[in-house]
Amino acid sequence: MAPRLRSVTNHRTERVAVPAPAHADPAAATASVRGLSRRFGDRAVLDDLDLDIAPGEFVALIGRSGSGKSTLLRALAGLDQEVTGQVSVAGPVSVAFQEPRLVPWKRVLDNVELGLRTGDPAGAAGTALSEVGLTERASAWPATLSGGEAQRASLARALVREPRLLLLDEPFSALDALTRITMHRLVVSLWERHRPAVLLVTHDVDEALALADRVLVLGEGRIAHSSPITLPRPRERDHPDLIALRLRLLTQLGVPAGDTD
């Protein structure tokens, strides 16, 4: 069954079928980007970028700061009205932002439930909270949560919408190292259970290597590099394949080999 394509460059509620590009199988991709460009003044941050994300695929996108990672994510989320080109996503999209963006005047459960249009929003939100291990904080105010708890609430809010595409915009970058590892495991287990296609934007090469099926490097406004990773999870950080790939990626990012730890 072919998923229904829609253009996310338009408003979310508009569901526009877009013609599939000739060189890709429209039924196969959950997200498909063709000829995407975005200029800020004179600078082309995205320049004729093409990208396909397969159903259930975990893609990590890395790049130097200012390389347009977040711009691409915002285009996929339908938050950037100024992009040109074609973006089509099959099915609902959810976003977890870098700052968890919990609505401060809504308790955790109400945050997860916000805008949910299923039959039993409260029940679904409760289930999502228990999946991220946050049942006890359901009636807490967001201001009282720790960074990790807030990010878990944000994940629950993204997942409860049962997205076909889950966009993660550096959600773990503000967390301490131990919390980040816990969150990586949580994300992998949630992804294995729900199988959305994931686009993780990160500047952390190790995070990309630990989580993704495919690591993309954004450079010069396009996908400059793409490496599949087939190792099973959880992955040893010092697996020989990953060491080699880490060096390749860092070189791609313009970091000389001697500078790595």
Partner: protein
């Protein structure tokens, strides 16, 4: 180099040979559980009645100055005689002043009607101008122009338009309550974090839901600040407005007392105004505590 599985033992999921890392994990958890600010704040806290002490000393000195004749009663009555006057005004219905409670009720009624009207209109206008650019273009310049007219200067005009009855006084209170709440609510609506607006779009909120769940609650802290300012300015408007040809209320009491050079009645009326102001301010603060319970500084 460490592997993720070895580090994970810090969470206690990997028992063999992980005693030290497990301890480290516990220490980190323990350290983050301590909030050092709390004991320090408790140490500085005094019982509430301590704050009344300095006030009591001043009143004591005042009484002393009056009793020794240093402060003549014709200029300022002593605290004791003010209390006595208040008591007399409460228990007797004098033909000159009426009763204190009757005057208070008349004044409060004037204030309450004007304040309720002013705040309602202010909030409605702020929602109109805050949510729509057209509304802003149409209504905001008018409101800004009206705001820059000194309200006290309107009194003669109000007397010409509305006479000297209840109406100009209520309208005067209404106008003075309207602007602070309007301006702050408008600023609050426009100041709502745009990132939350983006979140609303990502969550697929409809326009009505966006206003109800994101915009209005986000504007509430600012609107409540406006409400506090409205209480202050409308109380001021009440005091000034009801001294003009009033036939009832605290202002009437003051103008009568002025004619009879009775400064202790004037003092009673002023103190009642002050207490009324304090109570209303306290009510708004209470409302703020209830409505903004989600803020960390209000103790969730």
């Amino acid at each position: 180099m460490f592997s993720t599985s070895r580090l994970a033992s810090a969470e206690g999921t990997d028992p063999p040979g992980s005693v030290q890392t497990a301890d480290a994990g516990a220490a980190i958890g323990g350290a983050s559980g301590i909030t050092p600010a709390r004991p320090a704040r408790q140490a500085r806290r005094f019982p509430g009645w301590y704050r009344a002490l300095s006030l009591l000393v001043v009143v004591g000195l005042w009484q002393l100055a009056s009793s020794t004749g240093l402060l003549p009663a014709s200029k300022l009555a002593s605290p004791a005689s003010i209390v006595h006057t208040a008591y007399t005004l409460i228990i007797t219905n004098s033909p000159t002043y009426g009763t204190l409670q009757g005057s208070l009720l008349a004044s409060f009624e004037r204030w309450a009607i004007g304040f309720a009207l002013g705040v309602s209109i202010g909030v409605l206008l702020a929602i109109l101008t805050g949510l729509s650019r057209v509304g802003e273009i149409v209504a905001d310049p008018i409101l800004q122009a009206l705001r820059s007219v000194p309200l006290l200067g309107l009194i003669p005009l109000f007397i010409v338009w509305f006479g000297i009855g209840q109406l100009p006084k209520i309208l005067f209170v209404m106008l003075s309550a309207l602007f602070p709440v309007y301006l702050n609510t408008f600023a609050g609506i426009r100041g709502v974090d745009s990132k939350l607006g983006e979140l609303g779009r990502v969550l697929g909120l409809r326009r009505g839901e966006m206003i109800r769940h994101i915009v209005l609650p986000g504007a509430l802290p600012s609107a409540l600040t406006g409400l506090q300012l409205s209480v202050i300015s409308s109380m001021l408007a009440l005091v000034v407005g009801e001294q003009i040809n009033a036939t009832s209320g605290l202002g009437f009491m003051i103008t009568q007392a002025q004619q009879f050079l009775n400064n202790s009645v004037i003092m009673v009326a002023l103190i009642v105004y002050a207490i009324l102001g304090l109570l209303l301010n306290g009510a708004v603060r209470l409302l703020e505590r209830k409505a903004l319970a989600w803020r960390r500084d209000f103790g969730a």
